[in-house]
Structures are given as structure tokens and as C-alpha cells.
Amino acid sequence: MLRLEARPQPSAAMSIASPLIALALTAVIAGCLFTVLGKDPVRGLGMFFYEPLSTVRGVTEVALKATPLILCALGLAVCYRANVWNIGAEGQFLLGAIVGGGVALYVTTHGIAAPRWALTPVILLAGVAGGMAWASITAFARDRFNANEILVSLMLVYVAQQLLNYLVFGPWKDPQGFNFPQTKTFAAEALLPNLVPQSRLHIGFAIALVLVAVFWAFMFRSWRGFQLQVGGLAPGAARYAGFSARAALWTALLVSGGMAGLAGAMEAAGPLRQLTPHVSTGYGFTAIIVCFVGRLHPLGCLFAGVLLSMLVIGGELSQSRLGLPNALTGVFQGLLLFLLLACDTLINYRVRWRGALHRPAVTS
């Protein structure tokens, strides 16, 4: 019989191996699933792990979808390390899209002739501000009324979606849009510069890469980042040291809100070029998975963001080429997170065979 035995020290190797084992198990189960669905498992897995990376266009699409995931996950990693459970990155993302997109729309409708190099930062910063403002509602409710941040941040996601719906069905609707719920297409100056010509990949991906380094430095080399993490690891030690729990709460929520907002603004002024009710395809929620698969580490978030982006694109490909439901992506995401949590047990425990090693308690 299998038995779990506590390790004297958490295994460092396992903490890196665990996501890889989880990924391998996900692939195995996915293969079985394809077989059951009557598809060639090799071809099916290829849709997820080979096809998306087989062409330049594919690679740029993976990077494009990975960008909001990485950005949201970076912010969430700070939050979770500080023991602040913000699960409303989706709502903060939407507010970033609304405010950033709102600026882009204003520029478009008022015909403001500003150069792109000046507009891009304004739009992105507006997105950051929008996300921060939305997250600060959660922070305030927690700080002032001790309201549970998990519930407040989650419920604000639906409020944000309704706000977006109101705007695109109402005041911001494109008059020439045949009554579709969408804004005007943004003017060219209000769009993000491209990173790779002939692709949809914008400079947001480069910004995300830079931010990975910035967040690494913040988490592991800054005094503020240290204080945040102590608050998460040992609240008693944080009180003893005099690190303010309020400051940690506000910092964590503003940082993660800002990052989600940035991602939202990039999405609006990047590939979408307008606001519709469907600005997000659940990036803020998927980022939670990215964050944990990435071990709450900025570099891990980068890799996990790319991986989850491949799953999303693979799901779309298997829909169009194999005729499988797109819900497959959700299934795989769920499997991956579930298996990761299961594999994480191996960090603190090792598996032993019972019986082979131990004799019964009393002999003679």
C-alpha cells in the first residue's frame, strides 16, 4: 500500500519538479481523453503542444495571449505571497480596459492629433489607474469593515462586467456600428505599437518581460517586498517587527489591481482595437492558475503564462481542426491546477510502500 511519509525538510527539487510532473500527468490524461473521444491522441496533443509553436504567427499569438496572463499573474503573486486573496483580477482587468480604452476612444472621437509615443503611455497608465481604483474598493472594504477580500474582489468582477456592458450598449456605442454593442474602432495613434511586423503581437509582451525582472527585484531584493512576504509567511513576526498589515494589504491590492488594469488596457488598445462586452476571455481567472503553476515566482509566472496561453490556443485549434468543444481548454486548465496541487504534496512528503519496510509493531 502506498503511504506518505513526512520529509524532514521540504524538497527544493520537488518544488520545481511538481509543476512538470503535473504537466506530464495532464498530458497523459488529455491523451486518454482524446482516445475516448475517438481522436488520435498524438495529433490531439500536438494541437496543444506543437502546433501553436510551429509557425512565427503561432508563436506571436502564444506571446500575445500570454501577455495579459503574465501581467495579471505577476500582480497576483505579490498578493498571494502577502496572504491577500485577491481573486478579482478579472474585474480589475475590465476596469483597466474601460479606462484605458476610454482614453483611446476619447482620442478617437475628438480627433486629438497626438503622436503615438505620447499616447501609448497615457493609455497604459490610465489602465493601471483603473485597475488600481477597482482593487482599492476591495482594499478599503477589508481595511475599514474587515470585509473578506475574496468575496468582495470576486463580486466586483460582475459589477465591472455590468459597467462595461452599460458603456458599450449605451453611451459609448458606435453610432455607425449597426447597433452592435461595441465602440468605434480606435484611431491608429491610439493603438499600441507592434513588436513583430505582420502580427498582432504588440509591445505589451516586451513590457511584460521587463516587469518580470522588476517584480523579481521587488519580491526578492526590496525592503517593501520583504515586508509584504513576512506578513504572509508569519503574521505574528510581521506584527513583532512592526510591519504594517494595512500597508501590506493596500500595496498588494494596488499592485495587483494595477497590473491587471495594465493588461486590460493593452488588450483594448492592442488586439481588440475597440471595446466590446467580451474584452476578456477570463484572463483574470486563468491568471490565478498561472500564478500557482508558476510557484508565485515571477519567472515561473512567465513560463506558466506561456504554457496556459498554449492551452488556450490549442483549445481553439482542436475546435477548428478536430471538431472538439472549446471547453476542452477549461478542462485542461482545471486538470493542470488540480494535479499541481496534488503533486505539491510531494514537496513536503515522500511516497513509501507500506509493509515492505516496516514489520508489525510488536514482534516476538
Binding site: 531584493r221 525592503w223 517593501r224 520583504f226 508569519a234 513583532y240 512592526g242 514489520r359 510488536v362
Partner: protein, 513 residues
């Protein structure tokens, strides 16, 4: 005296027990025999291998070699469950209680049979009354002080009617009277045939209580003696190879008031807290002031108010070098020179999962460069300095705090605060669960700090310690603080009386100014 020295089959007999870890041989050829009804002491410094040996007996650790015989039969104890099935009970030094549950619920969790909770509460009360241990089964554990938690653990072990009870440093948090009560309990248990393994570093207690004593040093047995017939010096020589250095009490010129509480009153924060009532306290530069008392009488609340973790104190009620700091954060008070060593080391004085070098940052700002960036080199250098100066046995500056033994972690935390050259140092339970060698070292460091002109406030439940290192003593009882008495004029009897709150009307025994 029962059993001790009598013939017959030992209840527990170990022979040739060996356990090697990658870095160290924790136990090397250990023999130990405990007779039925015998109170057997295991004496040794931290790192001598006592804990490993007890974990082997309790089935937590598997020995590499050697034999365990239980009532004559060779046994293998693969896990604590098997140990309990044999009739071995253990009270750990580090408690395994869930904070959010009540005492009774915690006990309930460990029971095999499905009993109603009310039944468990009833049997706890009965057991507690039988052995004179005060436990309120309905209180949540997080509201209990360390001493109170220990009592829950003792009662929990007693409930299983053990035939061998292992106690790891059980008296460190009890008043002299409570220690006497515990000894009555233990003697009663022994008379009824229960064997007791008593792990301690308190030589006097071992000599007063135990029938036999096995002394360990560096993983080996250095002697098996009858503690009733040998002197403390003999025991101590067996344990550390030399007598501990006597502390030098030097007459010191008392300086100005450094830390002062003026009529400090503080309403309790929950129903199990203690309300502080009009506390007056003065700690001068160059003196050590002690606060004695049984845990749960307001020590936690007073320490929280003095350190700045609780900032509800009325303005003007706490003065630090003449400045009103009642509402200042711990960080601000630290910048004014007030450093604090808390009672709980893991999770409060240090972050368990972080390395020692990072734990320096909890109370020290030197490695934080302008702009808020951490100077890792400086952190490592500072930690290395603390490790060397205070003789901390650790795997290096990167070693996680939780990988250190209790005594070594305490040396590190005390060292970290002393290294900051504080103007006022508050220390709670400086040597709780710390072995003789490290305790002597920590006390000597506190006295050296006093001689250097620091004001030291020691809150401890170990009376011997307070009598040894303090210049003046207060007693705290039910949230009120007694007037000070000169330690030279203090006797355990008077302090014991004051611990019951009976100083009113006695007339303060004032220390010479």
C-alpha cells in the same frame, strides 16, 4: 520510594540505539532502562541527543541500529500511534495544538473512540482536578499562554492512562508552587506504577524528583547516577564536561529612567484576555528589572503594550527616554532604542521558513540601502557575526530559522537584538526550553548588556532565573503589577504569595534607589 532500584523487568529498555543524520550522529550506542514506577531523568544539553532519543521511543524517528524492549519483549515502534497503543504518552516541548479549537476539542481530536465532546470536557475537568492542574476545557487555544497550553498537553497525555509518560522540560513555565503541585502529581502517577521519563536541564528539580538519571553528552551516555546521592556540580560535570560559569553580580551605578509605564491601563481585547490595571513600572539604564508571575496574568498584554504591538495605550502612559511612545509603532520605538525578544521564537521572533540572514531584517534596518533595496552581502555578514559572537549552532546564514534547535534560535534572536546595541531591551522567557550552557550564556549576555548601560526588562516565569539576574523584581497577577522589591530581599515564598495578588497592604519593599 517505589520501584526505583528494585529488580524486575524494566518497563522500557533501550540498548545500543544509534541514529545518524547526514551532518551529525545524534545518538550513538545509547542504553537506557526505565523500571515500572520509576521517575527517570534524561539530562543533557541541547544537541546532546535527548530529543532524538525521545522521538525514537515515541515512534517519530526510526533508529538506525539498536533494540527497544517493552516489558521484556523486543518491539518496533513505527509511529506514535503504535507508541500510544503500547501505553507511551508524551508531552512535547513544542505543542501540537490547533489555535482555533478549544482545549477540549484539541484533546478530542487525539482520541480514538467516538466520545461526545461534553464527555471529553467532563473527563478533562476530572483529570485536571485529580492531579491539580488548572485547565479550562472551553477556552480556545489561541487565547492561552504558553504555560496554559502546556497544561492542556499534560492533561491530554494523562487522559490516555499511560504506563510510560515522557515529559519534555515540563516545569519551565510553572510557579514554584505549581512545580511542587506537578511533582505531587508525578509522584502519585509513579506510585500507581506509571514510569516517567523526565527530560530536563534543571539539576535541582531532577535531584528533588527523580529516582535515577541518565546523562547524555554529544549523543552518548556519560553516566547513569542516582540523582538523590550526587551533587548538582557532579551532574553538571557529566552533562557539559565542566561546571557552568557562575554569573558575576556587579554593583552597577543605576542611570536615568529609560523605560517607564505610568498608570498604564488597557482593556482586554477578548474575553480570555487580561485587563491591565494602572501599571507603574520604571526601568533605569544599567539595571535588570524582572517581572515574575504565572503565565496568563497579563504578561502578554503588558509586553504588547510596551513593544508597540498593541497601540491602544493612553497617551503619556508609556515613556521611552522621556518621550511619549504610547501610540508609536514597534519600528519607531526600535529606532528610539527599544528592542524586544518575544516569548515565541518561531513565527514571531523569526519567520520559520526564511533564512537567518533574512530574519535579521525583522528588527534591523542596517542592510536596507537607500531606495529600499536589500544589501544581501550585509545581511549575510551581520548574520555571520551574530552566529559567531553568540555561538549559534546553525548551518550558516542561509539556514532556515526552523532548522535550528530552540536554544540556538533563542541565542540567534537574543544575539540579533543585543547586536543592535539597544538602549532598552525587553526579554520574555529568555531561557525557556534552552539548555544549561546556552541559558548561562544568554544570562551572561544580558548582564553584560546591563553593565554596558542598557536598561533590561525580563519577563519570566522561571523564578530562579529572575533571582539570579535581576536587580529589582515585580510580580504580575491578574493584570496588576506589584510594587518593586529588591531582588536581594526577595524570597521564593514572598514572591509566591505576591503571585496570588497578595501584596496589597503589605507595604512595598522598595529597592534602594
Amino acid at each position: 520510594m517505589p520501584a526505583a532500584g528494585q529488580g524486575g523487568t524494566p518497563r522500557l529498555a533501550l540498548s545500543g540505539i544509534r541514529k545518524a543524520y547526514p551532518a551529525v550522529v545524534a545518538n550513538d550506542g545509547i542504553d537506557l532502562a526505565v523500571l515500572p514506577g520509576e521517575i527517570h531523568a534524561v539530562l543533557g544539553e541541547n544537541g546532546a541527543g535527548k530529543s532524538t532519543l525521545m522521538k525514537i521511543i515515541y515512534g517519530v524517528v526510526k533508529p538506525d541500529a539498536g533494540e527497544i524492549r517493552w516489558e521484556g519483549r523486543p518491539v518496533v515502534i513505527p509511529n506514535p500511534h503504535a507508541a500510544r497503543a503500547l501505553g507511551i504518552g508524551m508531552v512535547f516541548q513544542h505543542f501540537s495544538l490547533f489555535d482555533t479549537l478549544t482545549a477540549a476539542q484539541n484533546v478530542w481530536l487525539g482520541l480514538d473512540r467516538a466520545l461526545p465532546l461534553a464527555e471529553v470536557e467532563r473527563s478533562i475537568r476530572a483529570k485536571a482536578a485529580e492531579y491539580g492542574v488548572e485547565v479550562d476545557p472551553e477556552r480556545p487555544v489561541h487565547t492561552l499562554s504558553v504555560g496554559e497550553r502546556q497544561r492542556v498537553e499534560i492533561v491530554r497525555a494523562l487522559l490516555s492512562e499511560p504506563r510510560l509518560l515522557i515529559l519534555d522540560e515540563p516545569t519551565s513555565v510553572l510557579t514554584p508552587q505549581a512545580v511542587e503541585k506537578l511533582f505531587v502529581t508525578l509522584r502519585l502517577l509513579a506510585e500507581r506504577g506509571c514510569s516517567i521519563l523526565y527530560i530536563s536541564h534543571k539539576l535541582d528539580e531532577i535531584r528533588a524528583l527523580c529516582h535515577s538519571c541518565t546523562v547524555l553528552r554529544a549523543g552518548r551516555v556519560t553516566g547513569v547516577v542516582d540523582p538523590r546521592t550526587v551533587t548538582s556540580a557532579d551532574l553538571s560535570r557529566l552533562m557539559i564536561g565542566a561546571e557552568p560559569p557562575r554569573l558575576q553580580h556587579r554593583e552597577v551605578e543605576r542611570g536615568a529612567v529609560a523605560l517607564e509605564a505610568r498608570g498604564l491601563s488597557l482593556e482586554r481585547q477578548d474575553e480570555f484576555g487580561v485587563t491591565l490595571e494602572s501599571i507603574d513600572l520604571e526601568v533605569h539604564a544599567g539595571e535588570v528589572v524582572g517581572i515574575a508571575g504565572v503565565s496568563g496574568n497579563g504578561q502578554q498584554e503588558l509586553l504588547a503594550a510596551l513593544s508597540g504591538e498593541d497601540r491602544r495605550a493612553a497617551p503619556g502612559s508609556i515613556l521611552l527616554f522621556g518621550n511619549d511612545v504610547a501610540r508609536e509603532s514597534p519600528g519607531r520605538r526600535r529606532r528610539r532604542g527599544l528592542h524586544y525578544v518575544p516569548e515565541e521564537r518561531l513565527g514571531r521572533g523569526a519567520v520559520p521558513t526564511l533564512g537567518l540572514a533574512h530574519n535579521v531584517l525583522l528588527t534591523r534596518r542596517e542592510p536596507v540601502r537607500a531606495g529600499g533595496w536589500l544589501d544581501l552581502g550585509r545581511m549575510t555578514a551581520m548574520t555571520q557575526r551574530i552566529i559567531e559572537r553568540f555561538n549559534v549552532r546553525a548551518g550558516g546564514p542561509a539556514a532556515a530559522a526552523r532548522s535550528l534547535s530552540g536554544g540556538n534560535l533563542q541565542k540567534y534572536i537574543v544575539g540579533r537584538e543585543i547586536d543592535a546595541q539597544p538602549g532598552v531591551l525587553i526579554v520574555a522567557q529568555p531561557t525557556w526550553g534552552v539548555d544549561v550552557g546556552a541559558s548561562a550564556q544568554i544570562r551572561a549576555e544580558l548582564l553584560a548588556l546591563r553593565d554596558a548601560g542598557c536598561a533590561v526588562l525580563v519577563v519570566s516565569e522561571e523564578l530562579d532565573e529572575l533571582l539570579e539576574i535581576t536587580d529589582r523584581l515585580h510580580v504580575i497577577a491578574r493584570g496588576r503589577l506589584s510594587p518593586p522589591m529588591a531582588t536581594a530581599a526577595a524570597t521564593p515564598e514572598r514572591i509566591g504569595q505576591w503571585m496570588s495578588g497578595l501584596w496589597v497592604g503589605e507595604g512595598a519593599v522598595h529597592a534602594p534607589a
